[in-house]
């Protein structure tokens, strides 16, 4: 049956080329839309990742803790107020939550500063953690000068840039904290993060220094939990799950821009879906119209084949195969053009951000698959409808 289809395509070149080009265009449009959707998904994740997939949890206290040596001027600090310490094994419990991707302990302490009355806020974290720590406190990418701290560093700290500038401290200088001289190995500008301190150090270093200001040594304890949600959509549930574990008296702090960001991105996402639905309907109507015109043009031929005794099934296959073959050729051409287009345009150009999103053979395949499915289905249905007519209706007049 394919030989008849191929014969029609070869002999009616004009009509075939027009049909093939229209399919190619449809596949290209679909491929671009699928790429846009993927691009939107990635952007959504990226945006929400930066605006709110991480949060901190701590326990505020109203009065000074008895373990402190200087209850008046010093204390464990979180979000601008005093906080209590929690056992570090809570981290393991939180990490097991399906809505949580990562959790890490942090010790934050406000030391009395002998040079002025402002005090120094120091934070100790796990420098090897690149997920929850990097998103909530600071990361090596925030370095302005020097190097980032490692877990092997002793008596070494990094400073927040504003603190360093106000104290006129540079890298390789020392700073005395709680009677200990600490070497400044780097300066960071952490930007806006849930946990901000003047100086940062490793957790073990923090335990050592903070223990000098408490009656009992600090070991396997923390006062802030740094948490990264499993993904942007699970964020709200992750917050709720952590509250359930820690209890209602604990505070969970996240970015306030998370919810508006979710709303705005959802609107964009829904618009894109709407666009895809609209384009799908448009392409479906276009394909059916194209097929209908093609079959009407061949109505008489269907009648002729009926009059010489061809079976309905055979006629459906001949007519349907021709249209399917056109869709196949057009689809392959469209997919090929979509891939060529992606290769031809360098991704580094910001102006082609959206169109450059055609980044995979898979997208072209999805576009091809959808258009081909619509084309094949409508071709067979329409061919079957026409074959059901009495032959005389197809021939019109004998």
């Amino acid at each position: 049956m394919w030989k008849y289809a191929w014969r029609e395509i070869i002999r009616r070149k004009g009509r075939s080329i027009a049909a093939i080009c229209s399919y190619a265009l449809a596949v290209m449009i679909f491929s671009v839309l699928v790429s846009l959707l993927q691009y939107s998904e990635r952007s959504q994740y990226k945006t929400l990742y930066n605006t709110g997939t991480h949060f901190i949890a701590f326990s505020p206290v109203c009065c000074n803790l008895p373990l402190l040596k200087d209850e008046t001027h010093e204390g464990f600090w979180a979000n601008g107020s005093r906080s209590s310490i929690m056992p570090i094994n809570l981290i393991d419990t939180i990490k097991k939550l399906p809505t949580v991707r990562d959790a890490s302990p942090l010790l934050m302490f406000r030391f009395k500063d002998s040079t002025n009355n402002v005090g120094i806020i120091a934070a100790g974290f796990d420098p090897e953690n690149t997920i929850s720590v990097a998103n909530t406190t600071c990361a090596s990418t925030d370095l302005v000068s020097g190097r980032f701290i490692t877990s092997h560093d002793t008596n070494a700290i990094i400073l927040e840039e504003s603190f360093a500038l106000s104290r006129k401290i540079t890298v390789d200088k020392s700073l005395i904290v709680a009677g200990t001289s600490l070497l400044v190995i780097g300066i960071v500008n952490a930007g806006i993060r849930p946990v901000k301190a003047d100086i940062y150090m490793s957790l073990t270093q923090a335990e050592r220094i903070m223990s000098q200001r408490t009656w009992n040594p600090i070991k396997d304890e923390m006062n802030i939990i740094l948490i990264e949600s499993a993904n942007a959509k699970a964020h709200e549930q992750a917050v709720q799950d952590v509250i359930n574990i820690l209890g209602k008296d604990k505070i969970v702090s996240s970015y306030s821009c998370h919810n508006p960001a979710v709303e705005a991105i959802n609107i964009n996402h829904q618009l894109l879906w709407l666009g895809i639905i609209f384009i799908t309907i448009f392409i479906t109507v276009h394909v059916i119209r194209n097929h209908y015109a093609s079959i009407v043009e061949r109505k008489r031929e269907i009648g002729i084949l009926q009059s010489i005794g061809w079976s309905r099934k055979k006629i459906v296959l001949v007519v349907g195969n021709e249209l399917i073959l056109q869709a196949l050729l057009g689809g392959i051409l469209g997919g090929y053009l979509a891939i060529v287009y992606q290769i031809a345009i360098p991704k580094s150009k910001s102006s082609c951000h959206i169109l450059c999103a055609i980044d995979s053979f898979g997208n072209a395949l999805i576009g091809f698959g959808i258009v081909f499915f619509i084309a094949a289905l409508s071709a067979l249905i329409l061919a079957f409808c026409f074959v059901r007519f009495q032959p005389i209706k197809n021939l019109k007049t004998i």
Partner: protein, 250 residues
């Protein structure tokens, strides 16, 4: 007496157009036997083509019965009708109805689609028949590259290649010159002699000198049969169309 190959019993056909009933055929009754030749005369618009299309099952009568080989056509399924058209009844259309994008040989071999399976055999048979019909050098020409007579021969070849028991020909020589028309008649006659098939020819006027067993006249939707004497006279006259009203008057 032999069983008729085709029996047309009280057949009527009515069309509805613009809320008007148009009765094209009214109580048509006749039969065709194997090997018989029948000429159907009728002016244009009298319903000859409609009758032919019903005889081969392309259309169905509004009223009445058509039996082919004892099979009641109206009760046949579409598949049965397809089989009858493919193997037993062949029709040569007035406007030939060749597929324009297919060559002469492709048009002819298409008629063998469900009869022979091997594409090579189909092509061989089609070529042989067209060569027999004097179209050896026109095998790969498209219909619009052929003369009217050549197209007519291709259409006849497409019908004859299936070796039908009944050939229905609608104005087979209508637009042809006398010489070409004679060729067409010769082709049909030779086929009939070989196969004992029945031939039913519809024409609106002139037809080359050929002996027909019976002549039917279709006028105002009704059918009349000419007597043998009148038939001979009528056939001698190729201007029957002009005399038709006189012939039928009481």
């Amino acid at each position: 007496m032999n069983t008729p190959l085709l029996r047309c019993q009280d057949v009527s056909k009515t069309f509805r157009a613009s809320q008007q009933k148009l009765e094209v055929l009214n109580n048509i009754e006749f039969h065709i036997y194997s090997g018989e030749t029948i000429l159907l005369f009728g002016k244009s618009g009298q319903g000859k083509s409609v009758l032919l299309s019903m005889l081969c099952g392309l259309d169905s009568p509004t009223h009445g019965d058509i039996y082919f080989n004892g099979v009641y056509l109206s009760s046949c399924t579409l598949k049965q009708l397809e089989t009858i058209r493919r193997t037993q009844i062949g029709i040569v259309f007035q406007n030939l109805n060749l597929i324009p994008s297919w060559t002469a040989v492709e048009n002819v071999e298409a008629a063998l689609e469900d009869i022979l399976t091997s594409p090579k055999t189909k092509r061989k048979c089609a070529q042989a028949l067209l060569e027999e019909m004097g179209l050896a050098d026109r095998l790969n020409h498209l219909p619009n590259e052929l003369s009217m007579g050549e197209q007519q021969r291709v259409a006849i070849a497409r019908t004859l290649i299936r070796e039908p028991k009944l050939i229905l020909a609608d104005e087979p020589t209508g637009d042809l010159d006398a010489e070409t028309a004679e060729q067409i008649v010769y082709l049909l006659r030779s086929y009939m002699q070989k196969t004992n098939a029945a031939l039913f020819v519809a024409t609106h006027g002139s037809f080359p000198d050929m002996h027909f067993d019976r002549t039917l006249i279709l006028n105002n939707g009704t059918l009349a049969q000419l007597s043998n004497k009148l038939q001979k006279e009528t056939i001698k006259s190729t201007q029957l169309k002009n005399n038709l009203s006189l012939t039928l008057s009481p």
